[in-house]
């Protein structure tokens, strides 16, 4: 998916998950899918990405947060204050975390699918806060490669 930031024009390669964090240069969350042939059109024709978005019929992709699953904090009015506090604190995005699975509480999990796609190694974080991890060493201990047969002389 070659995408360009609609604000500053920074280019993101095929299959890049970087755009999920917003543009690395300007933080803008809107991106336009650009065909290979039109990759440098904005520079050549001195147009902004937004103008190109208007001309081509491609829809501008806006990276949105996945809505939180309903938890107890959204249900009880007493706990609303703490939920608001939690929001104010900048949270590390799921795909940016070191852990593969975060156990927020019994039966409540946050999964880092980007990490899961790369390996079977499991780092588990316990509790809603950063900085406490359980590392599953067994998942990281790969089987030793079988020794190659020595050639017979």
């Amino acid at each position: 998916m070659p995408h360009k930031c609609t604000k500053c024009g920074r280019e993101y390669k095929d299959g890049s998950t970087e755009i999920l964090k917003g543009c690395a240069s300007c933080g803008c969350k809107k991106f336009l899918y650009v065909k290979e042939s039109d990759l440098n059109r904005d520079v050549l024709e001195e147009k902004t990405i937004e103008e190109i978005a208007g001309e081509s019929k491609e829809e501008v992709l806006e990276v949105v947060e996945q809505p939180r699953v309903k938890g107890p904090e959204t249900k009880g009015s007493e706990t609303k204050g703490t939920a608001a506090k939690g929001k104010a604190k900048k949270e590390v995005e799921v795909f940016d975390r070191v852990e593969t699975i975060r156990i927020v509480g019994p039966g409540s999990y946050e999964l880092n699918i980007d990490k899961m796609a790369k390996s079977d190694e499991r780092i588990v974080s316990v509790g809603g806060e950063e900085g406490s991890y359980i590392i599953d060493l067994m998942s990281m201990a790969k089987e030793e490669p079988k020794p190659k047969r020595s050639k017979r002389r």
């Binding site: 299959g15 998950t17 992709l61 309903k70 795909f95 999990y109």
Partner: protein
Amino acid sequence: MTTFSKTLGKAKKKFSIFLKRFFRKKRTRIGIYGPPNAGKTTLANRIARDWTGDAVGPVSEIPHETRRARKREDIVISGANGHTVTIDIVDTPGVTTKIDYHEFLDYGMEKDEAIIRAREATEGVAEAMHWLREDIDGVIYMLDSTLDPFMQVNIMMVGIIESRNLPVIIVANKIDLPEAVPSRIRSAFPQHPVVAISGLEGRNTEELYEKMIQSFA
């Protein structure tokens, strides 16, 4: 004479088994991926029923009904022009970044049961990702066309599939519902073939089968 013909018959049989094993066509293993409740099992059942008369697994309106990957092997799909493709269908658990048991309580589930479901669903996501990395040759990415496709998990999954260079067909499901907007999915993923279907009613599945022959053969 009879014993000779019997031995010859046995030898022929053994030889044909050997030949079949030796020249067996490698099947294409297709994973049906997507967020929970997109209709993955419904489609897997539809494909299995249409081509083998069998089913893959149970469906439910409660998310994360499929918590273990299920496989149906040797499905031969044939198209209008006589081309065929032999596939194994892998129905995978819905991939998501957050699983919370409170979600299941809304469906009248008991707390203990809901917690177990959440645990199993988490393991299911890990299993689905393991399959994607190790054992999948092509992907059908299912989306509910009544929902916004621009979700982080979808963009991320399509990105992961692209980075692994796997052929992908995006399916805009649930077009039987009045609020379905499959065009939104087309504009979200213009780089991939998108087929709008109703897995439940079987609408437009012929187009999907043709696309599968083109992409996975």
